[in-house]
Amino acid sequence: MPTPPKNNRKEREVEEESAEEIWILRLYVAGQTQNSLTAFDNLKKICEKHIDCRYRIEVIDLLKNPQLAKDHQIIAVPTLIRKLPTPVKKIIGNLSNTEKVLVGLDLRKAE
């Protein structure tokens, strides 16, 4: 099993949960702007703290791959897309509002 780029959980927990469960998070940015850096930092923190299973963060720079903006229907940046687990979730902004991010990622029920 390949090692995911970021993993904060214990081996014991992996065995308990389904082997298929993995989070794939895509962060679309346009160059190294303040917002994209903030978004990446925030995302990393949230993942470390709140995601219990394996996850992978893919950063896509639209300046390098402009075609992907069309293919993936991206308008705003930064945009975070939860590819897995389904359903696909879409969050925009620099992810500074942790509560909203958690709700958006289904990690917490909205109050």
Binding site: Q73, A76, L95, G104
Partner: protein, 578 residues
Amino acid sequence: MPATKRKMNTKTAHAPIFEFEKIPSGIKGLDDITRGGLPKGRPSLVSGGPGCGKTLFAMEFIARGITEYGDPGVFIAFEEKTDDLKKNFKSMGFDLDDLVNRKKLVLDHITVERSEIEETGEYDLEGLFIRLGSMIDEVGAKRVAIDTLEALFSGFTNEAILRSELRRLFLWLKDRGVTAVVTGERGDRTITKYGLEEYVADCVITLDHRVTNQIATRRLRIVKYRGSIHGTDEYPFLISNDGISVLPITSMSLTHIASDERISTGIPKLDTMLGAKGFYRGSSILVSGQAGTGKTSISATFVDAACRRNEKCLFFIFEESESQLIRNMKSIGMDLEPWVKKGMLRFHAVRPTAYSLEMHLSTMLKLIDEFKPTVLAVDPISNLYPIGDDIQVRSMLMRLIDYAKSLQITGLFTNLTNDAETGMYSLEPTEMHVSSLMDVWLILKNIEGNGERNRIFSIIKSRGMAHSNQLREFVLSDRGIQLRDLYKGTEGVLFGSARMAQESREAGERIRRNEETARKKRELEAKKTVMENEISLIRAKFAREEDEIKVLIGQDVSRQKASENVMKEIAVQRKVDK
């Protein structure tokens, strides 16, 4: 130094008045109104309510830009999927797939659904810019259309970010040097729902789809066009199967060739009134009159005459069905059915309210193209008024007439007037509008009097020919239309049964007078006879008396002789000496 000064002065003196460079919009008629098209390298805003033709406007701008002006384009749709767009525009003759394959067009559909988006903190719309930029680069686009940009407002909650990004977008489009058409939804009090007009300073056009009396009509208006002269009216526009066409009311060119050929009206007396020859070929004729004055009969007679000359006729009827009209015309001794069967005559019978003016016009033009008639009749145009106002009907008719004239088609149009109470030639404003389009204007009028109604016919105008100024009585019989001279006599002008009564009265009078004369003649004869009798009597009497007197005279003479003889004898006897 003085040299440079002078140079500068001349420069300012010759500096042209600033005006944007324009590129043709590709939309029929719009470039006439804007005197050249849309501002080049700048965004223009097209706003309007749902279904008013914004998407079509934007797409024609792009597609015609490619096909007619060779400008590659990008079309971004926020509302319709690209497949739907392709399907919709295929029916209008745009093969978008082909344009895409030829690398002239990029179509993109951007979906914005708030339900699937969570906003957390700051963001910008750089993704949209990157997308747009890459598409522009892909085909080297010169034209960009964004339909409808305001869809973004339903996708993002942070209006402050959105507005600053939109401002940036318009500046960015300008920087890229593309000519853009951005569409927006009409707002309650503002031009667009979210005030996009704030960002577009150069050219703002509104489209309108108004429903009056259940019939929809479309209008276009240029709200602003900085640094350019433009028409400020509301221009009616049509959406037909070849796209939008704006009808610039004043900019119609009058370039058709006028024919010298004359064609019969089908009514011999009317031909006589029109300089003995009839209408000019390719002219437009208005027949107006009140209900039941015989307008349809005049149209049908004209059409019938054309068919007899082997000309093809197209007859638009808005009041009756084809079979009803054919039946009714049989009552005045005219049978149109054979012409229909021979393919010389085609009817198009439809209620005017069936669809909008623009549809009527496009249907008519299409039929003209298909059938290629030389004579056209529309009965009556007044039925179009419920579905559009004067100007719209007028501009529609103008288009129809101009089109007909360009093809040398003679057009006869009837118009129902309802001013029964007013004077004979008081004209309705609507008629005034329409009549100026017409070369010939015939009027039918009901005149009531002596307990009956009669029809009076006259020619109000007939351009380019000498024509009679006389009123005629219009009589419909089973032998068709007849125009009779009015009775002009001591009793004034009479018509109808009054005319007939007067005529018979005159005839009686004449007979009576003839008899009187004859009687007098006879009397005179008789007198003469009496006189002659008397003369002969007198003469006879005279003769008799003459005879008597002569006898008496003779007796006297002989008596005297006798007495002389007696005296002689006495003398002899007495032996009288001499």
